[in-house]
Symmetry: C2
Subunit: 134 residues, 2 copies
DNA sequence: TGTTGACCGCAAGCTGGCTTGAATTCGTAG
DNA sequence: CTACGAATTCAAGCCAGCTTGCGGTCAACA
């Protein structure tokens, strides 16, 4: 038995047991056995969980993440879909960059009201263009 | 009276009237008058709303956005805070980039299971380092 | 052979960000 | 003057993503 107890999975992944159960209900991960009532997991589950954590932090929904996880292991379905998601991420990165620039400007600009500052306006226009593109 | 009717604000900003009312309750924007019951807004509100839209799409909470909005107009409080938020954004951008690379790889890599692929592992390790840094 | 403490299932609750519904109030057009 | 349509308040509802609480079960340790 080289399975991991749910306790170990929690410790190593940073997720709570209840979150793991929730993910199991949602079809994101599977437990492969029980010891008594306790769920046992394959070690590879840790990597899946790492991917889930990454996706969550990137703002993906569990539904999105499930699609990505289903792809590998099972016959590869949505090559285009993945590229599309990557494109979404590129757009999001552009937006975040614009917002970051705006924040740094707001922090440093000496203008009385930022809404009166020329550079601020420019940043806003740029950011809005990004938003419009979705 | 060069105030904008809520209808115009909705059309130009893309927010619904109910969302505007919600933002008002939450202290993000103010209406400056009424015509009958109808709220009237200053034109500058549109720019604030644009900033809100940008922040929302970047994943900020309304609470965060309110802090940023309060800064300008009122005596400048949190210069450091804004830079800190900008730093957060930089970190988030790094994560998103890592995830984007991972997705593109998953889409194109011919390996049977991605969890068995060397490059995938490397990407994951990189991504996890980012996560750990928060 | 107990007792303990971690996990179980299930249902209910919680937070954030709005939307929806019902009853009401106006400005405007006819 | 009346009727219409759009906006109002307030409460309730909804969705995602979990957490919390309860009574129950079991492996392990004494």
């Amino acid at each position: 038995m080289k399975f991991l107890d749910i306790r170990e999975v929690c410790e190593k992944s940073g997720f709570t047991a209840s979150a793991l159960r929730y993910y199991e209900d949602a079809g994101l991960v599977q437990s492969v056995a029980r010891r008594g009532l306790r769920r046992q997991y394959e070690p590879s589950t840790l990597k899946q969980l790492a991917l889930i954590a990454m996706g969550r932090r990137a703002g993906f929904s569990l539904r999105d993440i499930r699609q990505i996880l289903n792809k590998n292991g099972s016959p590869g379905l949505p090559r285009d879909t993945l590229h599309a998601k990557a494109d979404e991420l590129d757009a999001q990165i552009a937006e975040l960059s614009a917002l970051r620039d705006t924040l740094r400007h707001v922090a440093d600009c000496p203008a009385r009201s930022h809404f009166a500052c020329e550079r601020f306006q420019t940043l806003m226009r740029y950011a809005q263009r990004d938003v419009a593109r979705h």
